[in-house]
Amino acid sequence: MAGFASVATMSPSGIANADFAGLGSYSELMLVINARTCAIAQTCLVQASIDGGSSWLTASGDYKLLGTTGAHPLTDRTQIALTNVAGSPLSSVLWFPWWNLVGKWKQAFIISGNEGLTQFMVANNAALNALRVFNGASANFTGGTIYILGKP
């Protein structure tokens, strides 16, 4: 079976949400953001869906942050923040090594993180099948490119 394939490319502008649906067949997913800009510098955020993007996982605790100390309980989050602070342009790489695995929480590694790997969990046992990329303060995208890579 082949490695990562290019699944989708988007250069969003004038919209607040970059939504990617139809991702349920991929076992691994990688999000590559290259020089995304928005009207006011903001961090870039990610949420996932288990129903193809009809709704999104947005509740506190849908995402768990595993800090570098490994301390429990894990920190509840409503989303995955890709950077520590606001930025524009902003780039990042986020990897879901078992994106559509049923019965387990999904890991999400920010492999561009300053700690080498910054790990989140998507606290849901259902397979993930859609991804939303958006900005803090609901700021619109003004430029940059978002790539979705997937492995069957």
Partner: protein, 154 residues
Amino acid sequence: MPNPWVLIDSWTFSVNITERDFLNLGAYSELNALLRNITTANSGLLQAQVSINNGSSWLTASGDYKEVSGNDGSQANLAAASLHITAATTARGGHVWFPNWNMPTVPKVASRRNLNTTLGALLIPQANGLNALRINNSAGGNLTAGQIFVWGRL
């Protein structure tokens, strides 16, 4: 099942060399390189550089590699993917993973997997797939001991 990782090539020191080139890698969708106990004649950083023409030339210009800040997502121009952060002549190692090594159009990701405070991912903004890897020292001069392993996945 995904294709398995295979050891493509390796280098174990026998004589001094200024760089070790790994060619004919264009068939691999993913690549991993591991450096172990490499000593150098000059105090520098062990680094990786890549090629899109199988080593006829190498990507060596500032901006051929974009270091992504995990803090604010900004990009910094680099001329290589450095694999550790403190210059030395004494034994150093490193690890870099290219998850979309030969993918056309999309920027290539180079994920440095040393767990420390500054090394994260780089983007290599090339429309072509990559097909050769060079390991050398940022300060020039010889590699004087050590090992390099390169694994790939079709």
